[in-house]
Amino acid sequence: MRIHRSFRGALKEKKIRSIRGMLTDSSQIKLFDDSFPRGEDGKYHYSKPSDEKRAEKIKGILKKVRKARSGPRTLRLIILILIIFIPVVFSLFFLDSLAAGSLEEVLETLSGTDVTVVNLDIRPLEGSVRLEKLAFASETDPMVDSLLFTGLETDFSWSAVFFRRFVIDELSGAAALNASRETAAVYPESFEAGSGSGGFNLSGFQTTSADLAELIPDETLNLLKNLRGSAEQRNKDWTARVNRESDDITALGERISVYLSKPLPGKTDIQGWTSLIEEGKNLGGDVSAESTVVEQFENELEIASQDARRALEKGRSAINNDLNTVQNNFSLNDEMLNRWVETAVISIAGPKAASAYQKIRKIVLHLRDRTQNEDSDDSGVVGKGRMKRGRIVFFPAALPPRFSIKLLNLEGDDISIEGTNIGIDQDLAGAASFLSIDIKGVLSSEITIDGRETAENLIRGNLSSRAAPWTGGPDAPGGMITVQSVFNVRGFNPEGDADFSSRGQVVLSDWNPILFFGPSTPPLPFSYNFSADGGKTDLKIQIEPKSLMPWKKEIGDYLLSSGEAELKKVIPPEAEEQLEALETLIEDWDDNKAMLETLSLQLDSHQSELDAAMDELTEGLPVDIPLPRASGVLGGIGSLLGN
């Protein structure tokens, strides 16, 4: 039976006095004094009592003394150190791999693609972090890294860490685009290849003759029929009247012939002369009347002919109007073309823009979640952990920004990323942040982040691309895109009432494949206005009418070439017949005109014969009374003769 090891060695005078002071029973003090006699060295050594009972008793006393001692408990301290510091030491040893895994996971969540982190080296004492390689796999080709950073080096500020902030003085490294990978990318489970690419559906260009036939109205045919019917009836009536008139003129001619063949009366036969002159006068009046009728026919002929021509024009015009109506129904006017292009662009770019916005929003909200879950001033936010339930109350403390990269410089052959004061709480950094991304020959952008509460925009920037390739999707056209745009973000918060807007000019060119028409597709310039409010996005396209002219021409040519034949098919044969009939009728009118001329000539001949007869009569008159000429003034004879 052994006493505790702390009493086995030599005890000093002070220790002995301390133990004796803890004992109250005199028998216990005596037993203790007997068991620890003073040695020659002046120290006290344990001397086991010969009696077993006394030895047991002194052991119990020493055990109680030990339990009742004051001062730190070494064993507890060791356990505490093991509990608390072992994880810390473990983290220090495995910090690099743990941080690399965590960084990879976070970046994969944010980017949605496979992220590779190689050789992350954190040196807390030096305050530096080095990363050999950080690669973001291409979303379309698993053997390509769309963005690759190598040799990343950064120094962080320990003074900021004391304030629970993380401030990087400088982050530098090399960057490259589209670098080939040695092994295929392993995409995260949530990754969806080609997600966000919109379909491409160009509808509204196909028409059939069946569709068009319905567009020729019956009214046009009825109109043609009516025009033709009235013109024919009028022609018929007129012809009948002219024929009758012709008969009358023929009869008049016969009467004149009979009149001219009559013998002259004797010189003394005044009654005979008077009768002859009276008959001539009547014939002259008849000739004059017939001439007037013929003139009326000529006038009527002219009017009827013009009416027939007008009817023909009206018929043709009705047909043309119908054809125009048909053409308008399958050709493109400005509004229709504008709407079509807008639909096409939105169908391609809408999902992409929405996808890009949601990605940015996800990143921002994720960052805010990381940095603000514990610093949220919103009582409504209740997270999974207890620490996510609190609200931060802001005090006028002089703090560094929560996260900041004072100087960012990533350079590569084909990409350059530069920035100052990149991070969160730039108002605390004393300056707005500035980020410039330049993908050489393709894209350049300048972004300013201003986190101050009074700032008009949280993020604002501009982006311009110079003929970057684009595609609408696997089966959709693509080409080159040139963009000049500005954008701004007024706020992001977990409720989703973010206010993001972007507007700019876009030119889509070098279409591949060529759309529908000719040897090439014209470039398509348009302006856009993209806005997002929380999870909702809205993309509006506006196209200048002038810029649509080449498209209109191309589309018009296409439609004409494909639609002309169809168009002709839809003119009913009956309409053609009616128009031809009207044309024939006009020709008939022209023929009638010739007949009238004949009649007129006939009348002139009769008039001449009558005039000659009158001259003859004048010469044979028994009295020297001149007879007026028959032409137009025969009626004067009557007056001279007392009529």
Partner: protein, 157 residues
Amino acid sequence: MIAFSMAVGITLAFIPGLTLLWFVLFIPMMLVRLNQAAFLGMMAAGKLFMPFVDPFSERLGYFILSRPGLYEPMGRFLSLPGTNWFRLNDSFVTGGFVLGIAGWPFWFLISLILVGLYRRYLAVKVKTLFSKLGGKVPLLKKLSIAVSAGRRIGGAA
């Protein structure tokens, strides 16, 4: 001693874990003479009830932190290096801290009552139960002896 340890355990249960404030209080408590079983046990048991108390402690913390008189002093305090790790500008941490510290006498009183009730109504039954079980299971017998020895050495509260 047991009631004291239990009250300290309840106080630490109120404060959100893995904050610097929690460690600052936890480490000394591990080093001083306390009934560690009561301390750790009560802290673990207290955590089970915290979801019911958290809303109240958060509102209490926000009420305290939003007092105008605290604005300037807290600003100066949080401007000191290292103080941000205490996260005292978080209503939840402050609420838990104040509720734990200010309510300590109350927790101590409750602990005393609980220990008294245990000794009066449950201690004998528990000892008997362990003795009976100890007769059948040697390990439980040793445990029963250890509990008895611990009570003798640790003394009463």
